[in-house]
Amino acid sequence: MWSVTIKSLAAHKLRLALTALAVVLGVAFMSGTFVLTDTIKHDINGLISQTTAGRSAVVRATAPYGDSSGGFAQDVRPLTPESIQQIVRSVPGVAAADGTLQGQVTLIHDGKVVKTKGNAPTIALNWEPDHQLTSLTLRAGHAPIGPGQLVIDAATAKAASLRIGDAVTVIGNPGPEPFTIVGIVGFGKANTLAGATLTAFDTETAQSLVGKPGYFTAINVAAAKGVSSDTLLSAIGARIPLGFEVVSEATVVAQTSAGIDSFINTFNTFLLFFAGIALFVGAFLIFNTFSILVGQRTRELALLRAVGANRSQVTRSVLGEATLTGLAGSIVGLLVGIPLAAGLYSLLSTLGLSIPSQGLRILPRTIIVSIVVGTLITVASVILPARRAGRVPPVAAMRDDAVIEETSLRRRAVIGGAVLVVGVLALISGLSASNGIGLVGLGAALTFVGVAMLVPFIAAPMARALGSPLPALQGVTGRLGRENAARNPRRTAATASALMVGLGVVGAVATLASSASASVGSLVDRTFNADYVITTGANQGLFSSAAESVVRSAPGVIVSSPFTQATWHDGKVSHGLSAIDAVTGPQVLNIDVVTGSVAALARGQVLVDSTVARRDHLTVGDVLPMGFAETGVKPVTIGGTYKPNQLLDSYLISTALLSQNVTTRQDIAILVKTTRASAAQQAALKSALAAYPQLSVETGAQFKADQKKQINSFLAIVYVLLALSIIIALIGVINTLALSVLERTHEIGLLRAVGMYRRQVRRMIRAEAVVVSLIGAVLGLALGIGLGATIVHAASSSGIDELAIPWRTIIVVLVAAAIFGVFAAVFPARRAAKLDVLTAVKAT
């Protein structure tokens, strides 16, 4: 039977090429993602281990709450006093020990924020005198000495055209201060660390900018020649006091790598999610193509049966075709994915992620997973058509009108309904579970499959309803197009379903985004009692708490309060908290007090969200032991409860109390109430803050618009990632139409014979494509919005508490779907119009 399989493949080259293209695109997306993220991981980790080569160990305060935070963020730990540096330096076997500290600042040149293209942070470091301990290498100029001097990284210097001798402003804890660039540095051999802007100061200056005089983040240690890591670690370990730890360089690198890896893995999962959708859409296309091919090859398959092939041999020959198609598609997809990853990587580099590349990483895992997944999806999609092929009766070879018996509609309804119900249940239980993202995904996929199985029942009425304006618009060609879309509900359903999946995700994401925008908006409306909100806006710079005093004394300001968020730990898990000025905060923010009073904030007490209070049986007067990473557990009395408010987290304290427990309080916003809100007032605030170009002064409405813009730019990224799925669905529509045109050769010939212009033939095919696309769009949007609404409902406790239907997106998607249909019809319509009338009429 293998030779039959091969011959059949050869005979349907174009069909199979289009089918394989769906596999190629999906697999390329997947393999490209793997290669890209593996390469980034490898390069960053390579950079880290290369640039810390001179360091043997690190001494630091122990993190009281463990290594909980991943990503680039460091674990929060208390600072290390200079006394520890003295102790470590005196340990035998230590060649050098330098305190290191780092934090974030804002760098300003010519009144503008100096920032990288990728909006990476500006990191401030202290210049460690012993160069074997520092990752920074001086390229030009000299090391910073004393206040007013800094060095910056070569990448930023080049990008912002900064030279030695240039005057800049650095905003750290004390506010804006003038500095002069005295040197240019590299990060190891690289120009900078993964796109960040690096600044370095002498230790005292750095401490005043981002730390605390006399304190470091950690102490870097270099071992003397011949001293082993173990000897060094135990020697230091024996000398440092309780609350501090010494770890080997290897441990530090491993921890940093783990943080970076987990960050990149999240990115990887995010991209794979979209690759998965593309493959899922591809599965519909493959299923549909093979279903149609099996239908068209009925006589050929029957002939095989008639000459002695048994059912399973016929089924296996079709599956064999699928396997070869899938395998070929996967291999090509894998190969296409590699340059795709290379392209994306260089795109990221131009966007500011500058890492010295060590070449693309193509792991065996990438190759195996790509080929196995691509092939399996193809074969799995073809199981049903292959079994149908096996059911072709041998007698069909002799008959002209033989059709393969379709699975009974009742069975289809029952199975489709069951899949749908299971999908919805999985979705709902996944949403209510604490960590049910996998279940949500499975539920959503099953829901789509279930609906797709049921679509044939509604495809014909939908086609007639959606195509109802067509006869009026373009007469009989419109009516024919509409009826062609309705005549084979299974085929139309499968084609539309592929589009439904992609647009379903669009609908869901759009619903989530519009709901998030609406929720933020109404939260701002409900909570803000201020005229202006001062934030870093879209500037992405660092907020400076020093700006607060400037705002307070600005003309027209009645009251202002900083607003910030932080975390506290109960020994098991961390909780978010918000902090506002005890006195002015309640004047600019509406806090719905349930019990107690906001005045308690001024007494250093905590207010608790009333739902959390009820859940944890907390009442006014109870003492809450709040653990802070830097200062330890503080008993804080509960002074009141308030109605849950997403902006305020579940715990609210004063900024004064928070400042006692963190070295650098990182504020998020300043809320301002003025005598009279006006454009002039806003301008006055802006000019008062002229020294802080990273801050923007916005009215409540502007702030809301800003938030919306940020949500929308995320949405745009999601749409770009979904584009591939939509393209695959487009190929599906083209493929189905082309096969349908082939099947209707006689009919089109007849129409041409009795007087249909070629133009009218094209119009007819276009009408059909538009109707099929609109079915996919309507179903996708309905399902997607339903899905989005379900998620919004389930996520109401996490801030998105208002459902907003994205009407504009709906209209755009419907119009786009119609255009998409017109576009998909171009090739099949041209083919149909070119059919030779005579061949079509003669051939019987």
Binding site: G475, V476, E483, L750, R752, A753, V754, G755
Partner: protein
């Protein structure tokens, strides 16, 4: 022959030349038609210098053995295929002067077709199939004429049905209806009864006969069935791409005699 062209509605579109059916007028004329398929040594001369005219208001049957060129003659005369050399006139129109658009409009407005199989569009009802050429032209059918066609064909109760709900005979009657509905200058039938049993065949041929006798239409069919050909006023015999015989007022017996003589 009665002249009914006065109550004919003015035709629109590019081919709107109202054919004035002067008695003895020619509906279609073929001059020295040559059709060669293929090239070089494998080429086949399907038509080898055929000249014939089809008078208006007459029923002509074309017969001949397989490969005689009878279908090719029909296709070329009907504007479905083009000649290698020679000329086809439908009324005053030289088909070689028309491009694809022109030929399409000509087929739509001035020619009616009845094929052996696949005559109807499965997604349209019987009535929609009948008025399809006029719908394609964006024209309203002449209601009175349409009614008389429908009544003649006795398909009034089947008008709302889709083709797959009709019997083979009913389908073919709808096809005849479509051919008649636009009052074409000439109706071509390509084995129009080839797929029908003899009873239904007789019915359909009777309808075509009536269209000529009572409705003053012009009909040309290709057939291999002597009985079918006997409904015609005239039978042309083709062999090897040439007209070899031309019989008026045929009977099945006389046709069989001719066929025997031609050795087919």
């Amino acid at each position: 022959m009665a002249d009914e062209s006065d109550d004919r509605p003015a035709q629109e579109g590019p081919t709107a030349t109202p054919p004035e059916a002067i008695p003895g007028r020619i509906a279609a004329q073929v001059d020295d038609a040559v059709k060669v398929y293929g090239r070089g040594e494998t080429s086949v001369r399907a038509l080898d210098g055929v000249s014939v005219s089809f008078p208006a208001g007459r029923f002509t049957a074309i017969m001949g053995p397989s490969g005689s060129g009878k279908s090719t003659l029909l296709h070329c005369t009907a504007g479905l295929d083009t000649l290698t050399s020679g000329r086809v006139m439908i009324g005053d129109t030289d088909l070689s002067s028309l491009d694809d658009r022109g030929l399409t409009a000509l087929r739509r407005d001035r020619i009616g077709f009845v094929f052996q199989t696949f005559n109807l569009v499965p997604t349209l009802t019987a009535l929609e199939n009948i008025v399809l050429p006029m719908d394609l032209a964006g024209r309203r059918p002449d209601k009175a004429w349409l009614d008389s066609v429908i009544d003649t064909l006795a398909i009034r109760d089947r008008l709302k049905h889709k083709p797959n709900e009709l019997s083979g005979g009913q389908q073919q009657r709808v096809a005849v209806g479509r051919a008649l509905a636009s009052r074409p200058q000439i109706i071509f039938g390509d084995e129009p009864t080839g797929n029908l049993d003899s009873r239904v065949s007789a019915e359909v041929l009777g309808l075509l006969r009536d269209a000529v006798s009572r409705l003053d239409q012009t009909v040309v069919i290709v057939t291999h069935d002597p009985v079918a050909a006997s409904y015609a006023d005239r039978v042309l015999f083709l062999a090897d791409g040439k007209i070899v015989d031309d019989v008026s007022g045929p009977t099945p017996e006389s046709i069989i005699d001719h066929m025997k003589r031609l050795g087919s």
